[in-house]
């Protein structure tokens, strides 16, 4: 017993010694004067190559260009979502952002409790009351929503123009209204440039697991390619990695979603429908900065650069100038309101 007590004593001494070490550059969290912004990530957290990373990029851009002090919180479990938001709101942040639809209830509650703090929710789920009317978020709460159907429309048109087939493929993740939005836009885009083209649409499942099932994605994609499809658009999270795998095996094409997914299968990714969470986050921070922030529902579509498609050095060779011109014309039509893209099946 004496020996083990000595060990404890020595270890404690080491610990206390370490407490006195102060590395240069050690910083206190940046709060105080200026614009303070807090961001709480979804459980997936940083490094998801999707909307969490998008929010991070947008917030860092705001830190650089607008001089905002940005703090990030990465929750570990369900109750940490509210705790993280509350921590930031109580510290007197000017703006608190929750990333992901799962924050909807927590944000609504806290926005009511802290009326002087601005809140924003990426993919905030706007609810509809009994009479079918949209329930407006609280006055200090901005719901950042994306018109994924508009971006999907454009990649649908690209698929039909480049695909060299009368059949287009679509692989969805969880069979749910959110993903139907992607399918509806895609279908409309295909039809807009090729009236007699058909879309084969399949879903990987009916649970959130369907967003994490590359094996199923590959299976669905292989069967679609075998039916004569040359291009498949996926809106299915990591299930889509299976779609790209199939595209690589059969030398067909896939279309990515949310972020530029070119790197998943170089040469086989025709384009990606990108959701610019970074732009939406930057936009809301800049509104708070110049005091033009108001609550309400913000829709980020093609016009706001909230969604779009990838056209860069990587996929230039796949999309001819004529196709590109056609797509840009369609985009202009949507922005001008001459084409209305459906958002449900």
């Amino acid at each position: 017993m004496r020996r083990i007590l000595t060990v404890v004593g020595v270890l404690l001494a080491v610990h206390i010694a370490l407490l006195f070490v102060r590395p240069s550059g050690a910083a206190v969290p940046p709060t105080g004067a200026g614009l303070n912004v807090g961001v709480v990530f979804d459980l997936g957290g940083r490094g998801d190559k999707s909307f969490n990373d998008g929010a991070y990029v947008g917030a860092m851009r705001a830190a650089e260009k607008l001089g905002a002090h940005v703090r990030f919180v990465e929750p570990g479990e369900g109750s940490d979502r509210e705790a993280g938001l509350r921590l930031l709101a109580a510290e007197g942040m000017d703006l608190v952002i929750g990333v992901g639809f799962i924050f909807t209830d927590d944000l609504t509650e806290l926005a009511k409790e802290y009326p002087n703090v601005a809140f924003a929710g990426v993919d905030y789920a706007v609810s509809i009351d009994k009479d079918g009317k949209v329930v407006q978020p609280p006055k200090n709460m901005a719901a950042l929503k994306f018109r994924e159907e508009q971006g999907s429309f454009l990649v649908g048109a690209i698929a039909a123009l480049v695909g060299n087939s009368k059949k287009m493929g679509f692989v969805g993740g969880m069979d749910s209204p959110l993903i139907h939005k992607f399918e509806a836009g895609y279908r409309a885009g295909v039809k807009a440039v090729c009236a007699d083209c058909a879309v084969i649409a399949q879903y990987a499942g009916v649970t959130p697991e369907a967003f994490r099932n590359p094996g199923r994605g590959k299976e669905l994609a292989l069967s679609q390619y075998q039916q004569g499809v040359n291009v498949i658009y996926h809106a299915s999270g990591s299930t889509g990695l299976g779609v790209f795998e199939a595209a690589r095996t059969l030398n067909k094409y896939g279309i990515g979603v949310d972020a530029d997914q070119y790197k998943e299968a170089p040469g086989r990714v025709l384009t990606s429908m990108v959701k610019r969470v970074d732009n939406a986050v930057y936009d809301v921070i800049s509104r708070v900065k110049d005091k033009s922030f108001t609550g309400g529902i913000y829709n980020f579509g093609l016009a706001e650069d909230g969604v779009g498609y990838v056209y860069d050095a990587n996929n230039k060779a796949l999309i001819s100038d004529a196709v590109r011109a056609r797509i840009e014309a369609l985009k202009a039509d949507i922005v001008a309101g001459r084409i209305a893209v459906p958002s449900s099946r």
């Binding site: 070490v21 206190v28 479990e77 705790a83 009916v206």
Partner: protein, 356 residues
């Protein structure tokens, strides 16, 4: 010093203490490696947890769930079994409570609704625990394998029920319960305002006392411990080992299931897919650090809850992975010093023929 007290300190108190100090030192080094001053980070951690009423309330809230899963694992370890299924049992318990609360008509008085929901939670957790229990008793199937695999099955099933049948559109949760919701502690003590701590803590404290009484004051508890220490000797003495194992895992599952009411009835008022967030697995660490004693489990739950809530507070200065690493180090340090774990590992190795 009384020899008995000395032994208790030597065996029960010192190993976790060494583990804690080792973890502190590794924490210092990690924080330094990240370029921050350890003293400042630790202070922020304490300020954000025990330093203010809200933070303390959050610690209490998290410790409530962890106490349940910790008691669950401790109960099985006392019987010489390793229940790794607390995660699934916790989720099942929460689901049971949520469904019971939904099924009851609105306006059911609390003195009826709360016990019904609590029973439902324990029943669902106990059912999940009964599967490995029965398989172990009847066929000798190793409970570690069965409980691990059962986690996936239970979580997938619950996920199916919620997302296909019960969820509110565009969310991952069920509608709010009609009855059985537990008031928050902030209703009584205003300073707790905003924290999720609720009356579940009283129920769980009673459960911890009951677990202690059962283990150390009843015949069944004595038999359970005897089976855990030496099954062959217990059998020779007339204890039905298989049945004791089965019952231990049922009680274990029910305790884990009880933890589900903390989130479902006490905090949100609905079952949300994925609410467990690893609290079931962390229960293993809580039981080990708490040396499988109900009092130790409560203290260990408070410790891990502090780390978890403190991780959020210090997130401004260091990444949350540092706190996760700390948890891991405490677990490794304790696991290597706890005799029960060494014995179970040795048994597992010799059973699988590892001695050759």
């Amino acid at each position: 010093m009384n020899a008995n007290v000395k032994r208790t300190i030597e065996e029960a108190v010192l190993p976790p203490l060494v583990a804690l100090v080792v973890a502190l030192i590794v924490g210092d080094l990690l924080i330094l490696a990240y370029g921050q001053a350890p003293s400042a980070v630790w202070r922020l951690l304490v300020d954000g947890t025990w330093g203010n009423a809200y933070g303390f309330g959050q610690v209490l809230y998290k410790a409530t769930t962890l106490t349940c899963t910790g008691l669950a694992v401790a109960m099985s370890l006392r019987a010489g079994l390793f229940n790794i299924g607390a995660e699934g049992q916790l989720a099942a318990g929460g689901f049971g409570a949520g469904v019971a609360g939904l099924a009851l008509p609105a306006g059911t008085p609390a003195f009826l609704a709360v016990p019904i929901c609590v029973m439902a939670a324990m029943l669902c957790g106990g059912l999940v625990g009964a599967v490995p229990g029965a398989l172990r008793a009847k066929f000798g199937a190793h409970e570690v394998i069965v409980t691990i695999m059962l986690n996936f099955i239970v979580l997938a099933l619950l996920n199916y029920f919620v997302s296909a049948k019960l969820h509110v559109p565009e969310t991952l949760h069920t509608p709010e319960v009609h009855a059985g919701a537990m008031p928050r502690l902030s209703n009584l003590i205003g300073a707790f305002h905003g924290s999720a701590a609720n009356w579940t803590i009283v129920i769980v404290a009673l459960a911890a006392v009951a677990a202690w009484w059962f283990l150390f004051k009843t015949r069944a508890g004595y038999e359970l411990r005897a089976v855990g220490l030496q099954p062959d000797a217990a059998e020779y003495a007339g204890v039905k080992v298989g049945i004791t194992w089965r019952n231990a895992l049922i009680v274990s599952g029910a305790l884990a299931g009880l933890g589900g009411i903390n989130f479902v009835l006490g905090y949100k008022g609905y079952y949300e897919d994925g609410f467990t967030g690893g609290a079931g697995f962390l229960g293993i660490a809580v039981a080990l650090v708490g040396r499988n004693h109900p009092l130790g489990v409560v203290l260990a739950a408070l410790f891990f809850a502090t780390l978890s809530q403190g991780g959020l507070a210090i997130n401004a200065m260091v990444p949350k992975q540092i706190v996760e690493a700390l948890q891991g180090i405490v677990i490794i340090a304790v696991a290597t010093s706890v005799p029960e774990v060494r014995r179970i590992l040795r048994n597992a190795v010799s059973k699988s023929g590892g001695q050759n």
